[in-house]
Amino acid sequence: MRPYPILFALFVSLVPVSAPAQLPEGRPLAYITNEKDNTISVLDVLEGEVVLTAPVGRRPRGIILSQDKKQIYICASDDDRVEIRDADTLKLIRYLPSGPDPELFILHPDGRTLFIANEDDNMVTVVDVPDQAVIEEIPVGVEPEGMGLDPKGNVLVNTSETTNMAHFIDTDSLEIVHNTLVDARPRVSLYTKDGTEVWVSSEVGGTVSIIDPNTYEIQHIIRFQIPGVTDDAIQPVGVRLTDDGRYAFIALGPANRIAVVDQKTKEVLKYLLVGQRVWQLAFTPDQKWLVSTNGVSNDVSIIDVEELEVTRSVRVGRFPWGVVIR
């Protein structure tokens, strides 16, 4: 067995070291966390090429950009902290306290308040980024994960996987104002651009619930049917909504597909075949391209949003989990 890590190291070492020290400028770059490799891959989305692979903390999962897009924040789940890195050099700037096992997080529009879901601890940790201090821990349901903020930043919607709820949290008082029961194992929550709907994916329930944030009632439930794929394998996780209100893209996990849904009518328009166990999604800033992380096939798929077609897949590290694009 000994030669393999070395061969692999040789292979890996060739990639980052031979890559340009300077990341390409003025083009969309996708930052992808590789959960099992403890690295992130930087992908030139238009070229479809990994331009840099860099070591980060243990079990990297959630990844977001700072408001000025000059820094990336990474949940290093097994290190129980958040890493802030320079988006150009990927050098570590500093750590943030996060509470145990941070999984997903979201930055408040104020640019300084970070809301972190602590999966292991039934808690949402609220952190002030410049002060590097925990402001509050909000007890939520069992295994919190999804984090969605309304466009104004007044309400945070957190989902808890085992409690099966979407918790609506007032970002001012940091208290839960309402809980809405959804289908089993809710993973991701997201507001529409206009703030009138909250989309919540239920992985084991196999559905996406659309909640009215004023009444907290579920208004619509999207279900999926794919010929040749059993219902059990249809497990919605990542959700992305185009700002123009046209499309919703929903990653269906081991169904290996992304559903394209009409944001208005909630009809499924198309299923796009991608890699295995597709979880998280991100748009390029112009929303012309969508990138999906396919955990089991160790690659990402790049989707042309206008044509609704998968244009290519690119190999990254092991178990790509999160993705953000700047």
Binding site: R2, P3, Y4, P5, I6, L7, F8, A9, L10, V12, S13, P16, V17, E35, K36, D37, N38, T39, P55, R58, R59, D78, G99, P100, D101, E119, D120, D121, N122, E136, E137, P139, G141, V142, E143, S160, E161, T162, T163, N164, M165, H167, E175, I176, N179, L181, D183, A184, R185, E203, V204, G205, G206, T230, D231, D232, A233, Q235, P254
Partner: protein, 444 residues
């Protein structure tokens, strides 16, 4: 490309020399990647983490006190849940280094009660746990009846005969019992009861899970070695049924009935015992008490792998299990108990969560309503198996993926890909509706 490298000690060196000067950081990353990610906490780390958790909880409570807020909504429903566990027989110690956990199930139930309360406090539902441990010389029926006065839902870890006795008591007719220990297939067939749900997989489910896996490996010639206990008879029957279903050839079935301490005799006895068996791909053991099985490995005449009650086992939970969020569950359980979760703990967790999930959804706590919901298509919970777990309406058995685990690695998960079923692939394991002689829900 790779094969020669494996045996040439100079090859790695050569590569190191070629690549060494620019490998630096990358090598470090790769090597360290081998042993990171989700390694279990050591006892010391566990203690530290438990202390940190306590401290955080204390601070949080202080903050809440200061703020004067409480998360608890006004309680509108209170649901007590009972668990009754019978003292386990301790078989003679052989190779089993793991402690026998008496009261197994209590901790799983306790964790699920906490999970139910976490959910319940948002909607004003309160849960409590009544634990009863019955010693070998105590009267389980009396203990059960006392418990039955306090709760409508009782989780039981008792053998089949006692389970039936308890389920048939007049006082039990308005209760729901959750079986987390008895694996007997008869309880899912002719001896099924309307007031009993089975969380623990039956022997048939386990045998089918093994058979599917071994069929995929094309290891279809089995040499079955069995003990003399009635449970071993039952497991052999399940193996025979699985062999029939999946076209497996049991080339020989042999009974180990020796009573000498196998630790001393294995070297001499096992080669002789296994020598006469016809050509086989794998040895399948039926030794539920663990009286000899571990010692078949390495002593057999032919070098063959072992599965069944030892070696590769088909289980509902194992400390190897880490997929589908299970790692969270393992971590929470260990932090609460300082030990690994067992099958009965998992069963008790599922039972309490099933009750909680049902009451959360239907907002009623009458056993009749809960029973109807549990058997309906509407019921589903996520139980760290990647797909929802549900109940078979015809016999009350929990549908679930079965883990195929070696002592230190998760080998596979059943049902195997390609084993299809019109309802769900999970129904390829155990007694499907047409095969089951139990029919609790004829209208489905």
């Amino acid at each position: 490309m790779r094969a020669p490298l494996r045996y040439n000690p100079l090859a790695p060196v050569a590569i190191m020399v070629c690549a060494g000067f620019f490998m630096g950081v990358a090598l470090f990353v790769v090597v360290s990647a081998e042993d990171v990610s989700a390694r279990a906490l050591s006892q010391e780390e566990l203690d530290e983490r438990i202390e940190r958790d306590k401290e955080r909880r204390r601070k949080r409570q202080e903050r809440q006190k200061e703020k004067g807020t409480t998360l608890q909504k006004k309680v509108t429903l209170t649901v007590p849940i009972g668990i009754l566990v019978l003292e386990k027989d301790i078989p003679p110690a052989l190779s089993n280094l793991d402690p026998i956990i008496q009261r197994e199930g209590f901790d799983g139930a306790r964790l699920a009660i906490e999970d139910n309360l976490t959910t319940g406090r948002f909607i004003g539902h309160d849960y409590s746990l009544e634990k009863v441990f019955v010693g070998k010389d105590e009267d389980p029926v009396a203990a059960f009846l006392e418990l039955a006065q306090k709760t409508n839902y009782i989780i039981v870890a008792v053998p089949k005969e006692l389970l039936l006795q308890l389920a048939d008591l007049p006082q039990s007719q308005s209760l729901i019992l959750f079986n987390i220990a008895a694996q007997d297939d008869s309880l899912r067939n002719e001896a099924c009861r309307d007031n009993v749900f089975h969380i623990i997989p039956s022997r048939a489910m386990r045998a089918d899970a093994l058979a599917q896996f071994l069929l995929r490996k094309r290891w279809t010639k089995w040499f079955v070695i069995r003990g003399v206990a009635p449970e071993d008879d039952a497991f052999v029957a399940a193996l025979q049924r699985a062999a029939n279903t999946f076209g497996i050839n049991i080339v020989e079935e042999k009974t180990w009935d020796k009573i000498a301490d196998i630790r001393r005799t294995a070297k001499a006895e096992v080669p002789l015992f296994t020598k006469t068996a016809p050509q086989h791909d794998v040895m399948i053991l039926a030794d539920e008490q663990g009286l000899f099985g571990e010692f078949i490995l390495w002593h057999s005449w032919q070098p063959r792998l072992v599965a069944g009650t030892q070696g590769l086992r088909a289980v509902s939970w194992h400390r190897n299990h880490e997929r589908w969020g299970a790692i969270q569950m393992q971590s929470r359980f260990r932090r609460q108990t300082r030990r690994w979760m067992g099958e009965w703990d998992y069963g008790a967790w599922v039972a309490v969560r099933a009750i909680g999930e049902t009451i959360t959804r239907i907002q009623k706590d009458k056993p009749k309503d809960v029973k109807d919901y549990l058997r309906s298509d509407a019921f589903a919970i996520a139980a760290y198996k990647g797909i929802k777990v549900t109940f078979r309406p015809w016999n009350g058995q929990l549908r679930q993926r079965i883990l195929l685990s070696a002592p230190r690695s998760m080998v596979s998960v059943a049902p195997q890909e390609g084993f299809l079923h019109p309802r769900t692939p999970l129904d390829t394991l155990g007694y499907d509706r047409p095969a089951s002689t139990c029919n609790l829900n004829p209208q489905e």
